[in-house]
């Protein structure tokens, strides 16, 4: 089977890759583009570890076929920091000990950024429901929710 040539924008940079027609966007990002920040925890869209934003929409990249990325703009965890500066969410996750094993962290950060982009001042319930598509088995979510609250406050103050 011939491979599909995909041209898109990833984390602000033009990107192109070859993929199989049946390959997931997650596999293409990890295996063809070399961005391994997004993780496969389930492959069925239930854990959110593979969260990316495509054309402004938060989604599980394990549920998207790689050829669907043609012409789109994709953001992954690797694009969150700018130069020397971590995104406030990254900084607050670090300072708030909002990660333990860290394997779900990229997905949480991408999902939390998508949440704050559409709702800059979420209350606790909105954060909890906004992140309900992401599984964390280590933290009990307490410190993750607090880190998102702290990041929202930091962004709104700046």
């Amino acid at each position: 089977m011939s491979r599909v040539h995909v041209t898109c924008t990833i984390n602000g940079d033009p990107a192109e890759f070859l993929c199989d027609g049946g390959q997931t966007l997650l596999d293409a990002l990890r295996d063809e583009v070399g961005l391994t920040g997004a993780k496969e925890g389930c492959g069925t869209g239930d854990c959110g570890a593979c969260s990316v934003v495509m054309d402004g929409r938060l989604l599980c990249s394990c549920l998207v076929l790689a050829p669907e990325a043609e012409g789109t703009t994709i953001s992954t965890v690797e694009g969150m920091a700018s130069g020397d500066d971590l995104h406030p969410l990254q900084q607050c996750f670090l300072e708030g000990a909002a990660l333990q094993c860290g394997v779900c962290t990229p997905g949480f950060l991408v999902a939390a950024k998508a949440l704050l982009d559409r709702n800059p001042d979420p209350d606790e319930t909105e954060i909890r429901y906004g992140l309900a598509g992401n599984l964390c088995r280590c933290t009990g979510y307490d410190k993750i929710v607090r880190a998102v609250q702290a990041a929202a406050a930091a962004i709104n103050e700046s």
Partner: protein
């Protein structure tokens, strides 16, 4: 935080620095096992049994071997024969079946090909013929007189009289006080006896098992993998392959959660065997479906407990009959259940009999305080019943019977200093304890215990030319242990915590270190770090003495510098960087090691308070408030201690309310995905208020008790007791799912109202 005893003031221990491995983990740069790729790498796929119990009559790999891209196919025949009685027989035949498959998902062959798709296609083309055998799927089926026997060699250890026929019971464990039980129960004013059932649950780590093995033509292999202990990966893989340990180097990748489930191995020997056969590196990554079907559930149980209590609340007698299913092979569930069931309370007369039972489901693996959450479910809900029955406050009942220093444990040894009473008091004194409840809400109290372990650990401290330090240990960092190692090293050396790089060394870079299990990393490996640092300080004093022209006894180490205390006038203190800069002239590189067998892991106690709200129309239970105290001895990095407590609570709440393995009548798992196996998400939980109690462990230089496991012990009974207080219903079967809660409410008269 509750500080219950005066403690030394520390500069670094007890602070909350950003963890050293944090940046990599928030930027996506951390390398977990599935993130690694090797030049020329192949992809390995496992062939698994579709049957729960079957004899393998033939495996034909010829078609698979001829397929495009296929470079190697292996079966059990590619590994040395292993006979029952071998020390690791169960592990060996679990990793790859030989003559029989014992559960759906049991590995029996593996394929390596150039692409994952090719490997999958070839795996599907491996032709296996089975003689399907009747499957044993429940404890009752396993114990039936005419039950099919899973293992023809399985003679019950601990049977009295000795077993003459094989059975599905690998072990019976008995403990007793050695006293007259009839007389003990005769002293009681109240005797209650209850039965409980629970189902297997999965650890649910988000990262599936993964590894890459690269076997060279020289017969040596390197494995990169995610595990809780890479030395164990090395020795277990060597055992399976019949190799010497020295042919295998294991490099730990970051580990994406384990909770006990990554204390054993599944893929690594297969990857090595495929790699050896193909002469290429082989990467293997499980799917979530494989993780559910073929790895790690915690045991299911049937528990029966009888308690005798005097009218003032004194426990006088306890009789426990515990059955644990460890899946298809022998396991420690019964023993651990027996060690924990009565451990938290003073019960002068007790008898415990615990059975392990094998059934045709995946081999169980450790899961955070293995066995203890279930014995706590039984004991702590029964204590609540006792309290209600006798008209005693549930907290007072526990305080009256709680074990303290000097009380005998189930095994007979006296407890050293422990913090159970302090944990109870911390919850009693918390505002949550007296806060009002809303409509349809109930509050549950429960306690929990885990003994913790020590085992072997090694550490190396290297001082760099600029006065910074590298601390190398053999404990994979599963939830912040690098930070705790750095904090202890900073405290000992007087070097800023950010000038210390904590590193997890591979099997050829650091001394032997046991698996990260039993809440031992910060305790035992921390002791090795402290030992190495103390040797380093002796060395630094010696080097400084040389530089000062003084005697070593005249040089103290104070806050990161050598200070002259002799009488030969004033000499400038020498900071660590100054000593490092002159190391070449004073004796060479500055390096020190610590290695030890750690003893005295202080038992960890926890007390939880949970508020639930029950919807009497749907049976849905929501946890609306949660407070958890736990004795950490000394919290090295309080944030990660809190994190361990909070994570244990979340897992325990999932176990209480939702999680269970569901099998069809043939033993095929019906819910092998996170959609159907429902773990708690953020919107299922409230904030979890973690109270760190600090009753220092006398055996550790900083007083550390392991904190990784105890937090999962109290949640199930805390939730169950809260449901009772909201509904008047006692639910003695897990999970307390909406269906089951609704049935209980309906049977109880149709609405809430305890």
């Amino acid at each position: 935080m509750t500080v219950t005893e005066p403690k030394p003031s520390y500069k670094y221990v007890g602070t909350r620095p950003v963890r050293h491995d944090g940046l990599e983990k928030v930027t996506g740069r951390a390398r977990f096992a599935a993130d690694l790729n090797m030049s020329g790498q192949l992809h390995g796929i496992v062939v698994r049994s579709p049957h729960a119990h079957a004899r393998i009559t033939s495996i034909d790999t010829s078609e698979a071997e001829a397929m495009a891209g296929v470079k190697a196919v292996i079966t059990g025949d590619d590994f040395p024969a292993v006979e029952p009685g071998h020390r690791q027989y169960d592990m060996c035949v679990n990793v790859i079946a030989r003559d029989k498959v014992l559960y759906e998902g049991h590995a029996l062959a593996a394929v390596a090909a150039s692409t994952r798709d090719q490997a999958q296609a070839a795996a599907a083309a491996v032709k296996v013929e089975y003689e399907v055998l009747p499957a044993v799927l429940t404890i009752d089926q396993a114990l039936a007189p005419d039950a099919p026997v899973l293992h023809a060699h399985m003679m019950t250890a601990g049977a009295d009289p000795p077993a003459e026929e094989p059975s599905n019971i690998p072990n019976i464990t008995r403990f007793s006080s050695g006293t007259d039980m009839d007389a003990g129960f005769a002293e009681a004013d109240l005797v209650i006896e209850r039965e409980f059932t629970t189902q297997p649950v999965h650890q649910g780590y988000i990262e599936p098992h993964a590894c890459v093995a690269d076997t060279g033509q020289d017969g040596h292999t390197t494995i990169w993998c995610s595990s809780q202990g890479h030395f164990n990966v090395r020795s277990s893989t060597a055992t399976l392959l019949g190799w010497e340990n020295t042919r295998i180097r294991v490099i730990p990748a970051e580990i994406g959660g384990g909770f006990g489930g990554k204390t054993t191995i599944y893929l690594e020997p297969l990857a090595v065997a495929l790699s050896a056969k193909a002469g290429r590196p082989v990467k293997m990554v499980m799917t979530r479906d494989e993780v559910f079907r073929a790895t790690g559930p915690a045991p299911g149980t049937k528990l029966r407990i009888k308690l005798g209590v005097q009218s003032d609340g004194n426990l006088v007698a306890g009789d426990a009959y515990l059955i644990y299913t460890n899946g298809a092979y022998a396991g420690p569930g019964g023993l651990l259940g027996a060690m924990t069931v009565f451990e938290s309370y003073k019960i002068p007369n007790f008898e415990i009999e615990a059975l392990d039972v094998v059934i045709n489901t995946a081999r169980s693996a450790a899961y955070r305080a293995p066995a203890a959450p279930l014995t706590a479910y039984a004991m702590e809900t029964m204590l609540d019943e006792v309290a209600t029955e006798l008209g005693i406050d549930a907290m007072d009942l526990r305080l009256r019977n709680a074990v303290a220093e000097g009380d005998p444990s189930t095994m007979g040894f006296p407890f050293a200093r422990i913090g159970f009473v302090e944990c109870l008091e911390a919850v009693r004194d918390h505002p949550h304890f007296t806060a009002p409840l809303g409509p349809n809400q109930g509050r549950g109290l429960a306690a929990g215990y885990w003994f913790n372990i020590g085992e072997s650990s090694s550490a190396t401290v290297n001082l760099n030319e600029d006065g910074t330090a590298t601390v190398v240990t053999g404990s994979p960092d599963i939830g912040g242990s690098r930070a705790s190692m750095a904090l202890m090293a900073a405290e000992e050396l007087g070097i800023d915590v950010y000038d210390i790089r904590p590193v997890v060394g591979d099997t050829e870079a650091v001394g032997f270190t046991d698996v990260t299990e039993g809440s031992r990393a910060t305790f035992a490996t921390g002791m090795a770090v402290v030992e190495a640092c103390r040797k380093m300080v002796v060395e630094l004093r010696g080097r400084a003495a040389k530089m000062m022209g003084a005697d070593v006894d005249e040089v103290d180490w104070v806050d990161g510098q050598a200070v002259y205390t002799g009488s030969d006038g004033d000499k400038d203190p020498l900071p660590v960087a100054a000593i490092c800069a002159k190391a070449k002239r004073t004796g060479g590189p500055l390096t020190a090691t610590g290695s030890l067998e750690a003893h005295g892991a202080g038992p960890g106690f926890a007390v939880h308070l949970c508020d639930v709200e029950v919807d009497s129309e749907t049976g849905v239970v929501r946890v609306v408030r949660y407070t958890a105290s736990q004795d950490a001895g000394t919290a090295i990095h309080p944030s990660y201690v809190e994190g361990q407590i909070q994570g244990g609570v979340a897992q325990g709440v999932g176990w209480a309310l939702n999680e269970e393995y569901i099998y069809d009548s043939d033993g095929v798992m019906e819910n092998p995905s996170f959609l159907d196996y429902r773990v708690p998400v953020a919107s299922d939980l409230p904030m979890i208020d973690a109270i760190i109690v600090e009753v220092p462990n006398p055996a550790h230089p900083y007083g550390v008790r392991g904190v990784g496991e105890t937090g999962i012990v109290p949640p199930i009974p805390a939730v169950a007791n809260a449901i009772y207080n909201a509904t008047g219903c006692r639910i003695r079967d897990l999970p307390m799912s909406p269906v089951r809660v609704l049935e209980a409410i309906t049977a109880n008269g149709g609405s809430n109202g305890a």
